[in-house]
């Protein structure tokens, strides 16, 4: 992420979370946090506990973030934020928490159609991580039609061009779902497992080979010793933790979508 991308990320993040932007230059931004945002990112629970128990006047923080220090013309005091900085990671985490569940309705503009109707879909974004002594991650985005059970891939990308609203429009007919969202979720869970099963797992075999080789080396050290010391078991355990392959499936976000 370049400084400019970080900057627009901050703009959108605070705007969408109703934090007032007090001043905005290309290379720094000053925001007034809301009470909720202060509690989320300022890490001062005792202040808020104190305030609430004494009925004091809340005074959420004002923050200045510098997104490109090299281009500052004046002497600005503030926190330097860049890709990799702890603050940005914290905001990424907050974004993840605040953007995990949606219910959206496609906007219908066609006035000639007598009774436009929208079909319910469940969309789920999965992150699959492969771990051994190395890591690899893959994103999968699926949508499942809650009327037909039809599953499509790259669902998130297909929503890019769609204009959504967050409330039902009056004169549009919303089909009720036949498949319950939770059942649909279970279907998608098995789809993802199936994909994982058919994926290329050479990585796991290779990690296993590295593991076996290191085990042989370890055995070599203790060859001929009958009562092996505690650190032998410790080494074996460490090798297991180092090389054992495991897969993590995580849902990062998802929701109900009513689409034409």
């Amino acid at each position: 992420m370049y400084p400019q991308q970080v900057h627009s990320y901050l703009q959108t993040f605070f705007r969408e979370n109703n934090c007032q932007i007090l001043s905005d230059n290309n290379h720094y931004i000053t925001v007034q946090l809301t009470i909720d945002m202060d509690k989320k990112i300022m890490n001062r629970p005792y202040y808020w506990k104190y305030l609430e128990s004494t009925n004091g006047v809340p005074c959420p923080a004002q923050l200045t973030f510098i997104t490109n220090q090299n281009k500052l013309e004046k002497d600005i005091k503030g926190e330097v934020v860049h890709f990799g900085s702890p603050r940005l990671n914290q905001l990424f985490q907050a974004t993840k928490e605040l953007g995990a569940f949606v219910q959206m309705y496609e906007k219908v503009v066609d006035k000639f159609e007598s009774r436009p109707f929208l079909t319910p879909w469940l969309g789920v974004n999965y992150k699959v991580s492969y771990y051994s002594d190395q890591t690899k991650e893959i994103l999968h985005s699926f949508g499942i039609n809650l009327m037909t059970g039809n599953v499509v891939e790259d669902f998130q990308e297909s929503l890019r061009e769609v204009d959504f609203g967050s409330v039902m429009s009056e004169n549009v007919f919303h089909l009720p779902y036949i498949i319950k969202p939770i059942r649909a979720l279970e279907r998608l869970d098995s789809v993802i497992e199936n994909i994982i099963q058919h994926d290329d797992h050479t990585w796991a075999e290779e990690a296993n080979r590295r593991w076996q080789r290191d085990l042989e080396v370890l055995e070599h050290f203790y060859v001929g010793i009958e009562n092996r010391p505690e650190c032998y078991e410790m080494e074996k355990k460490a090798l297991k933790e180092q090389y054992e392959s495991r897969i993590k499936i995580e849902i990062i976000s998802g929701g109900i979508f009513y689409l034409k």
Partner: protein, 510 residues
């Protein structure tokens, strides 16, 4: 295969379906997906960490080390770059990479007490890794990345507290302190679980090849076989290495070492010379009388005390006097005490110190900042007095100085004094790139100590050629030391790799 899944999202989703909690905002939903996509680790190989560290520009050899250790050595390695090439940066890159990839959650860094603050600063400010220095009152449960001194770690109750944690990565700085497998610290590290582990040392061999065996056996027991097989194949005699090539290859599987000249950075030259010195007849007489001592009294029959006395006599009469005087008290027979008394009288009557004169000569010719390393406190004090009498200002430096005093002395040296006189223990943890003359007034037994000393000035940031003067008095024990140093350097080079010049520009073959 283990598949881990979490029902966290599902539970949150059910709450929304039942209208117990509000749905999220569409922009944040999209932003969140974009962030995930941006931060995705799409490949098993390659380094993710540099893109998270825009403020840090690692040198190419540092990036290469990080990649090699992760991809070829599976995260267990000895980082053995020459002094001053940035082993801390390499370790930081590797740790950061594993943190980003989610393979390391908790890490323990063991370092000499004098380097703890430097580690904390580098990890926090260069790598954004929230590391803390261990304090007795802290609970290790609450801190993921902790820096601790080896001396603290090996003692109760800290040792047990560390064992109770589940560290994914152990980093040990100045790992040559683990060369002796009979020490408490070795035992401590041996019993520690080492999933990923980095041992940092510029000097993996200091005296003999067994030190390397024990170091590697900590990291990867069995890699060099067990002790018996290693002993039979690699050490018929200590210094003759039969399977040099083979051993070297095994070592290279777990060790990365960059030399200054491999880094592609332009290094200033290192001009090393041995400066031979001749005793005055009076000095020589005292030296020879000291040699006689072992024939005169059983008090002096121990090899160790004799060697000490000879070395001290090559350094200064002040250093010699302290030891000699102490030993005189152990003499029982009157004639023995008499002989020692004679030596002391002759010693105290000496008016010249040939070596100190030579040192003064070098200092005044250099007409620049100079560091003098000596092994003895008494010689250190004497040299300061002697140089002062010649109108040369100097400051003293000892390893026992705390951080403030070190910084203060360094500043005094930089801004006011011409000479810094350091004892052996002052060798680690100070960087003095503004100086480019080093006098090894006394020679240590261990060539790596010389390398550590030179490394104080010949490191990244040095802009001038560096001059090293190794003083050795002709026809004394110092010539034996030179010979032994050469042999040890030879062992190091056969197993570990070439060394930059330490003793002199002309290598002796043995």
């Amino acid at each position: 295969m283990i598949i881990e899944r979490s029902s966290e999202w599902k539970e949150g989703f059910i709450k929304r379906l039942e209208n117990l909690e509000p749905w999220s905002n569409w922009s944040l939903y999209n932003m969140s997906y974009e962030v995930e996509k941006n931060n995705l680790i799409t490949e098993f190989r390659g380094l993710q960490s540099p893109k998270y560290l825009p403020a840090l520009t690692p040198l190419s050899h540092q990036l290469e080390v990080a990649e090699t250790v992760i991809e070829r050595m599976n995260g267990k390695a000895i980082l053995a770059d020459e002094v001053g090439l940035g082993k801390t940066i390499e370790a930081g890159l590797i740790l950061k990479e594993y943190l980003i990839r989610g393979l390391v959650k908790k890490a323990l860094i063991l370092a000499p007490a004098s380097l703890i603050n430097q580690w904390i600063e580098e990890l926090n400010y260069k790598f954004y890794i929230p590391a803390i220095a261990y304090k007795k009152s802290y609970s290790l449960d609450h801190y993921d990345v902790v820096v601790m001194s080896m001396d603290t770690a090996k003692k109760s109750p800290h040792r047990e507290l560390i064992y109770a944690q589940d560290y994914d990565m152990i980093i040990i700085d100045e790992a040559h302190k683990l060369k002796n497998h009979k020490t408490k610290i070795y035992e401590f590290v041996q019993s520690l679980k080492k999933k990923f582990c980095l041992l940092l040392t510029a000097t993996p061999i200091q005296n003999d090849v067994f030190e390397l065996f024990y170091l590697i056996s900590l990291l990867k027991p069995g890699h060099l076989g067990n002790f018996e097989t290693f002993q039979t194949s690699f050490s018929a005699s200590k210094h003759s290495l039969e399977h040099d090539e083979y051993l070297r290859e095994l070592v290279n599987q777990v060790m990365v070492r960059n030399r200054r000249q491999d880094t592609g950075i332009e290094w200033t030259n290192r001009k090393v010379q041995i400066v031979p010195i001749h005793f005055t007849p009076e000095e020589k007489e005292v030296y020879d009388m000291i040699l006689e001592l072992k024939n005169v009294s059983p008090v002096f029959s121990g090899a160790f005390s004799m060697i000490t006395l000879q070395k001290e006599m090559c350094s200064s009469k002040e250093a010699t006097y302290l030891t000699l005087n102490k030993m005189r008290q152990n003499c029982v027979e009157a004639d023995e005490a008499e002989f020692v008394e004679q030596i002391i009288q002759k010693l105290m009557a000496l008016e010249t110190n040939s070596k100190a004169e030579k040192a003064y000569e070098i200092v005044s010719e250099a007409n620049d900042k100079v560091i003098i390393f000596t092994e003895y406190r008494a010689s250190q004090a004497y040299l300061q007095w002697y140089l002062n009498s010649k109108g040369i200002t100097s400051v003293l430096f000892n390893g026992q100085f705390n951080k403030n005093k070190r910084e203060w002395m360094k500043r005094l040296f930089k801004e006011q004094a011409q000479v810094l006189i350091a004892t052996e223990s002052g060798g680690e943890g100070i960087n003095l790139q503004f100086c480019h003359h080093v006098i090894n007034y006394d020679l240590p037994w261990n060539p790596m100590k010389l390398e550590q000393r030179i490394g104080r000035v010949h490191r990244l940031g040095q802009e001038h050629d560096v001059h090293i003067y190794n003083l050795a008095i002709h026809d004394t024990i110092e010539e034996d030391i030179l010979h032994l140093l050469n042999m040890k350097i030879d062992v190091f080079e056969k197993v570990v790799g070439e060394l930059d010049d330490i003793l002199s520009a002309f290598k002796k073959s043995i």
